[in-house]
């Protein structure tokens, strides 16, 4: 029991009380249900990798968004994390493709541009004849540096815009509500 609580407590946003409640809940469920949960956890871990084009989480080599013929291939929205793709998809406002960087430039954490999926982005933009790259990166100090860095790299090849304003100060895309995000997407600005 305490082993289970301890495991739950390692999950993001789960404190000791929630962990205990979850553990008690699990113990009350029928064994088949718990089995299904455990299997789903393992399958997800073993089968979900990243899309070879956009680096979004995907069970297939190329993700659903990249495969969808209905999406506008002339725009790429660049985000830090797969969570941001999920948040933007909820708005149903954006119809183009994505590119997931896998983090932000942060020397303190030993993350430079080389550690992020930036070179593949530059290659994509050149090969796919992208018309617009939208940088949808949180306006934190690290987000700002990452935005400016990518902007400088891509400016010679394509139109680069950014969304950020309207988001809470230093906020995460994940926490912005759908209305705010949709509005930010509409009001994006040319990166100078």
């Amino acid at each position: 029991m305490s082993r289970l609580i301890e495991q739950f407590q390692r999950l993001p946003g789960v404190g000791p009380k929630t962990a205990q409640r979850l553990a008690l809940h699990i113990l009350k469920r029928p064994e088949a249900e718990v089995q299904a949960l455990a299997q789903a956890l393992l399958d997800a871990k073993q089968q979900v990798g990243v899309c070879s084009r956009c680096f979004h989480l995907s069970a297939e080599p190329v993700c659903e968004i990249c495969r969808n013929p209905g999406r506008d291939r002339s725009t790429i929205c660049v985000v830090a994390d797969s969570r941001d793709v999920i948040a933007l998809e909820k708005t149903r406002e954006y119809k183009g493709l994505y590119h997931v960087l896998g983090g932000l430039v942060s020397p303190m954490d030993g993350i430079g541009p080389e550690q992020l999926n930036i070179s593949p982005l530059v290659r994509r933009v050149n090969q796919e004849k992208t018309e617009e790259v939208i940088l949808a990166i949180s306006p934190s100090v690290e987000g700002e540096t990452t935005t400016l860095y990518i902007g400088q790299l891509l400016k010679p090849f394509t139109r680069v815009t950014r969304i950020a304003f309207g988001l809470p100060m230093g906020g995460d895309l994940e926490y912005a509500d759908e209305v705010t995000l949709a509005r930010a997407m509409e009001g994006r600005q040319e990166l100078d």
Partner: protein, 381 residues
């Protein structure tokens, strides 16, 4: 503004202590280590989100407990406000205004304004430049709460840039093991440091410009028209004083200075330009108070600064802030005590700690609310 009620739960040596403030002046009297300063510290936390004692939140939570709750009821011109702050051993804090939890701690700042004055404040004159920067920053947060965010952003950029400079240095001394640093990235951090730093510099310059004449007037009065006090903002990024409010000029000077110090930064692996190296100079009759000021002069100076803070905050927020006097009143001679008391009168709600009432003027002790403090318990005397 008037703090009507304060309630401490599991805070420091208080188990569960409600306090009702009933007079413009409240004296907390008791022996050493009974919990007098702890009350003032709770108010300081509500006003500034920090304690000048430093330390971690777990030190604020009563021993053997996991969380502490400070609540307060405040009367302001704009209406009554209820504040609550939860401190936890884990370090996670929650703040609420009128029962509504604030997503950003920043939004909690500026509800209670307070000037803190303790015997430690002599370090303002005697200590290093870091003490003076901290003092000015705390004042700026009171004047303009968004400054807390501005300062934090600057500090983050600074840390990131320092980390990058350190990486570059280890690459230069040991090219085999680490990758070279992309100059494009460094240039971006330079620009960010200059942008964020300029915001800090302009605000510090403005605050000193407004504070200096008020402090000078007070110092002149208290010293019996003998001395001229000057406060000077000696920013590490030097621009002519006429340009001190021009963001463009400061940013230019900032980037120029970074260029000039490039070699030194390369060797030292740390940022040598920016407001983290600012100084605020105190001069009495044109000589630095730090080296040449006598004890008495230094005390007069600190008192003048604190009075100036009170007046400046009052004029900016259009309401008198609270004054927290920790041990310091008894240390002032009667003349300076009276100067201070005449200024605050009944306008500024004042919380005073003391070990005895003997050192005070009998008349105003009579008009004050006296609370005795003993082992984490308060009693109306």
């Amino acid at each position: 503004m008037f703090l009507e009620q304060l309630h401490l739960r599991h805070f420091r040596n208080y188990e569960d202590q409600p306090i009702a403030f009933t007079a413009p002046k409240t004296i907390l009297v008791g022996d050493n280590a009974q919990g007098k300063s702890n009350v003032l510290e709770a108010v300081e936390l509500l006003a500034t989100l920090r304690s000048h004692r430093g330390g971690r939140d777990r030190d604020l939570v009563q021993t053997d407990h996991s969380e502490s709750i400070i609540t307060a009821r405040l009367r302001r011109l704009s209406g009554d406000t209820k504040l609550a702050m939860t401190l936890r051993n884990s370090g996670r804090r929650t703040v609420a205004i009128n029962g509504e939890t604030q997503k950003r701690q920043l939004d909690f700042l500026g509800v209670i304004n307070a000037v803190q004055f303790s015997s430690l404040d002599l370090d303002l004159v005697r200590g290093g430049p870091g003490e003076r920067r901290r003092w000015l920053d705390v004042l700026l947060v009171q004047l303009e709460p968004v400054y807390a965010h501005i300062l934090q952003q600057y500090q983050t950029v600074l840390k990131q840039r320092n980390a990058l400079l350190k990486q570059r240095r280890s690459h230069l001394t040991n090219p085999g093991t680490t990758a070279p640093i992309d100059p494009t990235q460094l240039a971006l951090w330079d620009a960010q440091l200059a942008t964020a730093g300029t915001r800090v510099i302009r605000r510090r310059a403005r605050a000193i410009a407004r504070l200096a004449p008020i402090a000078q007037q007070w110092h002149h009065n208290i010293s019996g028209q003998q001395e001229i006090l000057e406060l000077r903002y000696a920013s590490n990024v030097a621009v002519e004083s006429a340009a001190q409010d021009d963001a463009g000029v400061i940013q230019q000077a900032f980037l120029h200075q970074i260029k000039e110090k490039a070699i030194a930064e390369q060797y030292q692996g740390t940022s040598l330009v920016g407001p983290h190296r600012d100084e605020i100079e105190f001069l009495i009759n044109q000589t630095p108070a730090r080296q040449y000021g006598s004890q008495g002069q230094q005390r007069t100076l600190v008192l003048a600064l604190k009075l100036a803070e009170l007046i400046l905050i009052e004029s900016v927020i259009s309401e008198p802030p609270l004054l927290l006097l920790d041990d310091v009143l008894a240390e002032l001679d009667l003349k300076r005590q009276n100067q201070l008391l005449e200024t605050i009168q009944d306008r500024f709600q004042t919380l005073i700690t003391a070990t005895h009432l003997g050192a005070f003027d009998a008349q105003w002790v009579q008009s004050a609310q006296i609370l005795t403090v003993k082992a984490g318990q308060l009693h109306q005397a």
